[in-house]
Structure formats: structure tokens, C-alpha cells
Amino acid sequence: MRILEFWPALIEGVWLTLLITMLSFTFGSILAIFITIARRSRFLVFRFLGTAYVEVFRGIPPLPWLFLVYFAFPAVGITLDAVPTGIAVFTIISAAYITEIYRSGLRAVAMGQFEASDSLGLSRFNTYYWVIVPQAIRTIFPMAIAYLIGLVKDSALVSMIGVQDITSIAVAESRTSGESMIVFLSAAALYMLISVPIGVFGRSVEKRLVSRLKQAPQVVSA
């Protein structure tokens, strides 16, 4: 069998898949902090805007966003190449999903922790920074890793706007060689080779987090 024949070509695409996934996840996690702050604000406007952001970007699939930015934005004077388009779109979308992850992580922390911090006279910032977040991390981390693995797979959609990621190269290789089955199975294996180590890494960090805090993480469904 010629199973390994297409690997050298496909591996060329790995770094763009990784680049788009990792940057989007990192930027998205940071952006999500601000949206979470907005959603927990005292002001209704901010809470509304935060919730609207989450609903809109979770409610509309990535493909229309990719096409909107890549094909339609040039008409209003914003021109982005395919790779920055992919990173921008997946940053914005992942921020919405990660905000939800933060929310369920924070919700899993007992109310008494807030009250106790209040009675110790901790400021809002110190309450979150020293008391709430370290506890919430235990629930947030596994969910974030699961989301990251999902993002690796979703990033395949950037092939639709011509980014030369694993999927794009697989499509091109299958066209020129005619070996579509072998090519796409190889691409599938490559995606699993990326996501399985992320999962293994996630579980090992998770274990350390749990043993350090001597408490089992609470599982909150996504």
C-alpha cells in the first residue's frame, strides 16, 4: 500500500493548521476574559452586549463568517489575506465559546467563596484573582482542552478560502493523484496525531491540578 506516500506533502499543511488553531485559541482565551468581565458587570448594557456577542458568534457557523470577511469586507475597504482571515474569524468565534466555558467554570465555584471573600474585605479583583479563579481553573481547564481539540478540527474550514492547511493540501493531492481514499485517510490520521497528544497533555495537567487542590473537578456539561 502507498499509505505513506502523501505524508510529506500533507505535513507541509500541519504548521498552518497549528498556527491558526493555536493563535485563535490564545487570542480567543484573552478576548473571552474581557467578555466575561462585561457579562458580570453591574451595568445592564455591558451584560447585554456580552451575552449578545456570545449568542451571535455561537449561533452562526464559521463558514458564513469566513466568507463574509474574506469576500465581502474588501468592498467596505478591509482586505485581509486568507490566513489572517482564518485567525481573525476563529479568534472571534472561539472567544464566544470560551466565554461560555469561563461562565460554567465560575458558576461551579460555591457562592460562599464570594461571600467569604467579601467579609474579608477583598476587592472584586482580589476576590477573583486569589480565590475564585484558582478554583474555577479546575473545571475550566478540561473544557478548554476539549474546545481546543474541537478547534483543531474546525480549522479545516479555512481550506474553503484557500489557506494551504492539511485539508487544502489533501484536496489538491487527491485531485492530482486520484487516490482520494488514501489521501483523505492520511489527512484524517494526521489530524488525530495532532489532537490525541493535546488530549493526553490535557489529562496530565488536569491530574496535577486536581491533586494540588485535593478535590475532584466538577464536570459541567458544555
Binding site: A72, V152, D154, M160, M192
Partner: protein
């Protein structure tokens, strides 16, 4: 062309695409849900070989990007003599993907039923299948339903990848209209809004369902 003019002009042309998206969703759920049950129950088989085989299938179904799975079914399977037309290929690929994810929700729903229920049924000398079918699964539905509905909403959005193999769903229709008249902005905004108009109220409804479940 203003957004309003575009809406009046293109919405009627986009609706047939939305209809195909919904049809694709119904088809994949109809195929995928029984598959999910089989995969969930298979993972709890007493035969180790069956258990491991099913776990492998689930991990592959969940581990591969839906787009690649779609290409395997549509472009790859004909190489071994199995051909489907685009709509069927999309329904099968997405059903496998969906089935993998939903099987995990079903599995945890089944596991959430207190062991006492099983023991009581065993004490009544009910068979293994009877217990599963009439005692465990009916009770776990309350737990499974909201998660399953969330997955259905996710897969409504995922039907948009049908674009990749030219299933005439919403994204394909939107793209082909936009490519002829260059109204990309208006058309993709309308198409995006159509997805949102179904998914957003849908997920609000699921959230309400879930809240009601957790308070009752």
C-alpha cells in the same frame, strides 16, 4: 444596493437553500441518533473486544474533522466501489460525526441512573435488555434530551459544510448568488442571519429546558 433591497430581492432565493439545510439536518439526525444509541450501548458491552472496537469507532468519529469525513465519504468511498450523491454523502458523514458525539452524552446519561434502579430490576428477575430498554433508558431521557438538542443545533450549523461538495444548502445557494452579482456583504449577512435566527432561539429554548430540569 441597500440591505433592505437586498433582503427583499435575495431572501426568496435563499429560502430553498435553508430548506435543504433543514432537510439535511433531519436526515442526519434520523440516521445518527440510532447509531449513537448503538455506540453508547456497545461501549458498555460485556465482551471486551466489542467494547474496544466500539470505543475505537467513537474516537475516530469524533477525532476527524467533519470536512475530512465528508471528503472520505464523497470522494474516497467511490474508490472502493461505494458511491453516493452529494446530499446522501453529507448526511452519512455528518451522521457518523454526530453519532460519535451524541453516543457520549447517551453513555453518561445511562451511567447517571442510580445503581439501585438496576439492582431493583435485577431483583425482579428482568433480563439485561429489558432493564436497559424499560428501566434505564426511559429514565435517562430526561438527562439526554437537552444535550442531544444542543448537538442538533450544532449540527444544523455544521450542515453548512455541505458547501464543500455542492449540496444545494444555504451556503451553496448564498455563494452561487453572490458570485454572480458580487453582493457578497448583503448575501452572506442574510445567510448568516438565517442560521442565527434558528440556532439562537433554539439554544435559548434548550437552556430553558435545562434550567427547568435542574430545578425540578
Amino acid at each position: 444596493m441597500s440591505f433592505y433591497e437586498a433582503l427583499v430581492e435575495y431572501l426568496p432565493q435563499l429560502l430553498p437553500g435553508l430548506w435543504v439545510s433543514l432537510l439535511l439536518l433531519v436526515t442526519l439526525v434520523v440516521i445518527g441518533t440510532p447509531l449513537a444509541f448503538v455506540l453508547a450501548i456497545g461501549q458498555r458491552s460485556r465482551v471486551a473486544a466489542v467494547r474496544w472496537a466500539v470505543i475505537l469507532v467513537v474516537e475516530i468519529a469524533r477525532g476527524i474533522p467533519s470536512l475530512i469525513l465528508l471528503y472520505i465519504v464523497y470522494f474516497g468511498l467511490p474508490k472502493v466501489g461505494i458511491s453516493f450523491e452529494a446530499f446522501t454523502a453529507a448526511a452519512i458523514a455528518l451522521a457518523i460525526n454526530y453519532g460519535g458525539y451524541v453516543s457520549q452524552s447517551i453513555k453518561s446519561g445511562i451511567e447517571a441512573i442510580p445503581a439501585g434502579q438496576r439492582e431493583a430490576a435485577e431483583a425482579l428477575a428482568l433480563g439485561r435488555w429489558t432493564i436497559l430498554r424499560f428501566v434505564v433508558i426511559p429514565q435517562s431521557f430526561k438527562i439526554i434530551t437537552p444535550t442531544m438538542l444542543s448537538w442538533i443545533i450544532v449540527y444544523f450549523q455544521t450542515t453548512s459544510i455541505g458547501f464543500a461538495i455542492a449540496v444545494p444548502e444555504l451556503m451553496s445557494v448564498a455563494y452561487s448568488i453572490a458570485a454572480t452579482n458580487f453582493q457578497y456583504l448583503n448575501i452572506f449577512l442574510i445567510a448568516g442571519a438565517l442560521y442565527g435566527l434558528i440556532s439562537i432561539p433554539g439554544s435559548q429554548l434548550v437552556a430553558r429546558l435545562e434550567r427547568r430540569r435542574s430545578t425540578s
